[in-house]
């Protein structure tokens, strides 16, 4: 359908062509704008089970759409687009496309757990919000959270050396999250540490940060550990 009032249509559904011929009729020019249909054509039957495999999402199937979660929600009071009841509905039916539209607000849940307290069916909507946020992060729909980046750096160092070096974890975390290495609080922290810690301790720390020694007889433990964690994740989320 060609349209004039483009302002009423979501940008991603507007399809414009420079040249367009439909059934042999040249409709280039004024009539060349089409709207992609917004019809839901199928459900993803496995999606509910997928979200249930994440911690917090286990009870999503109990929801009967009463809306108590949304009504009690701290974030809904700030932004009416933040609607746990709606996302739970989408999750149950597997309407991923609709969910992804709200990717930039779902993670904003502040975990006040008012919804958890009020839910008559014990769905634990706060857990569902967490599960959804985790799913989106794992699917690459949303950017990795700083906490995830920190966890990864932490785990990586353990896999490699069987131990972590605080300085190195910090350094790489700042690098990966695009933060400056020399932050004011860090300067004060290091300065005080230098002032109060024994010299030998400081030297060991400095040496370890530069050389990152491995734990004795660490061998293949790191690889084994890494595999185990991967297997556990796959077992839970497929």
């Amino acid at each position: 359908m060609a349209i004039h009032e483009k302002a009423l249509i979501e940008d991603e559904r507007l399809q414009q062509h420079d040249e367009l011929v439909v059934d042999g009729v040249d409709v280039s020019g004024h009539w060349n704008t089409m709207i992609a249909p917004r019809t839901v054509r199928d459900y993803d039957d496995d999606f509910e089970t997928k979200i249930q495999s994440y911690t917090g999402g286990e009870y999503v199937h109990r929801c009967w759409q009463c809306g108590s979660c949304t009504n009690s929600c701290t974030m809904y009071a700030q932004n009416v687009q933040f609607n746990p009841r709606y996302w739970i509905y989408l999750t149950r039916l597997g309407m991923k496309e609709e969910l992804v539209k709200d990717k930039d607000i779902i993670w904003q849940c502040v975990s006040c757990n008012k919804c958890t307290n009020i839910c008559p069916k014990d769905v634990k909507p706060e857990g569902v919000m967490k599960a959804l946020a985790h799913w989106m992060e794992e699917e690459g729909i949303t950017e990795k959270a700083p906490s995830t980046i920190f966890d990864e750096e932490f785990a990586d160092q353990i896999y490699k050396t069987g131990r972590i070096e605080d300085g190195k974890v910090m350094q790489n975390f700042f690098k990966k999250t695009g933060q400056p290495l020399l932050q004011e609080w860090l300067k004060v922290f290091v300065f005080r540490m230098m002032k109060h810690l024994p010299v030998k301790h400081l030297m060991t720390m400095g040496f370890n940060t530069v050389h990152t020694p491995r734990t004795k007889s660490w061998g293949k433990t790191g690889d084994v550990l890494k595999n185990y964690v991967r297997e556990q994740k796959e077992a839970a989320h497929g």
Binding site: P37, R38, T39, V40, R41, D42, Y43, D45, E48, H61, R62, C63, W64, Q65, Y86, Y89, L90, R92, L93, M95, E98, K121
Partner: protein
């Protein structure tokens, strides 16, 4: 002196009424237009009943046996009342089989007629083989095999459409049929039990699993059987061209049109007034309310009354009713009818 109550209709309500009449020491004459007793649960081959979970054939079968074994009940099958003369205390009914019955009071347990889905043609019944009604699926469940009639395959996805022939002004059904939400939730579980791989969806505008049916059906179907409830308005059911059906409408929560493929579509059909009600109204001289069910007398002091003295009613003749409540009302109507006889006895004595 009259010692007989005429009970019209041999379904759960009528069977209950007749049994109550004879247990008080009076006689009952039962007139049933079909050739078997038991009413809709038997005639339509219902599977397990809500809420007892008993098979209809066994549960209602016990009611039938109780009446058929009762020497104080005279049963006329394949017969209707053609004419009713006289007045309260002294009725004379002429039956279509030529017999006449003297009775002091009458209980109408004339029930309902299942909504005929042909009257909702856009939802595909009668056009596509795999569009069925809840009564048909009841029979499937009773036979222990869920399969698409078109090719016998086990459906991957079944949807149950609620309010077919209920709450629909477009086709003049302005009432809620009361039991379909619960029956459908129960059916979703039965389908899942017979075919665990089948996903069942229920399309609703509101869910009315009233009273004690909430946890046992509505909750359980979701929590244990993963039934999915979709709030939507259905426009039409068409064919996808590859042997499946397409359910078209609008998901009113997502506010988007939907066109979803299904292997089987089930109409949760409602209760219409008994198709014979105009005739019943004329023969017995009782009024009908605006939807076409029997009109109730003043409810608070004239329980089970109709617009005519000496004639009582019960169950789905008054409007959509559950089996359990129909049975209770049948007993109540039987009680009222007996009270009339008893008053006559005292007067005569």
């Amino acid at each position: 002196m009259q010692d007989t109550v005429l009970v019209v209709g041999g379904g759960p309500a009528g069977l209950s009424a007749a049994a109550n009449v004879t247990s008080a020491g009076y006689k009952a004459v039962m007139v049933e237009k079909e050739d078997v007793l038991g009413g809709a649960p038997i005639l339509s081959g219902y599977a397990k009943l809500v809420p007892s979970g008993e098979w209809a054939s066994e549960a209602i079968g016990r009611m039938v046996k109780r009446v058929e074994d009762d020497s104080s009940v005279a049963v006329h099958k394949s017969a209707k009342v053609e004419k009713l003369d006289g007045e309260a205390g002294n009725f004379t009914a002429t039956l279509t089989n030529g017999e006449t019955v003297q009775a002091g009071s009458v209980v109408l347990a004339t029930g309902f007629t299942h909504f005929d889905s042909i009257n909702k043609p856009e939802w595909g019944f009668g056009t596509y083989e795999d569009v069925l009604t809840t009564t048909q699926v009841e029979q499937m469940v009773a036979s222990g095999n869920i399969a698409c009639p078109s090719d016998g395959r086990v459906p991957e996805r079944v949807c149950i459409l609620l309010c077919v022939g209920s709450r629909d002004r477009q086709i003049g059904r302005e009432w809620c049929s009361k039991i379909c939400c619960t029956v459908s939730a129960n059916m979703a579980m039965e389908i899942k039990e017979l075919s665990p791989e089948t996903d069942v969806f229920i399309y609703y505008m509101d869910i009315r699993t009233f009273g004690l049916y909430e946890d046992k059906y509505y909750w359980k179907s979701q929590e244990e059987f993963k039934t999915k409830f979709v709030k939507a308005r259905i426009a039409e059911v068409t064919s996808s061209g590859d042997g499946r059906l397409l359910v078209k409408g609008e998901d009113t929560l997502v506010k988007r049109p939907i066109v979803i493929p299904f292997d089987m579509v089930v109409h949760a059909i409602g209760m219409d007034p008994n198709a014979d009600n105009p005739e019943i109204s004329q023969v017995f001289g009782v009024g009908l309310e605006k939807h076409g069910f029997l009109e109730k007398a003043e409810q608070y002091t004239n329980t089970c009354g109709t617009t005519r003295k000496g004639i009582y009613a019960c169950g789905a003749a008054y409007g959509p009713e559950t089996i359990d409540d129909s049975i209770a009302q049948g007993a109540a109507a039987g009680g009222r009818a007996v009270a009339d006889l008893h008053a006559l006895v005292q007067k005569a004595g």
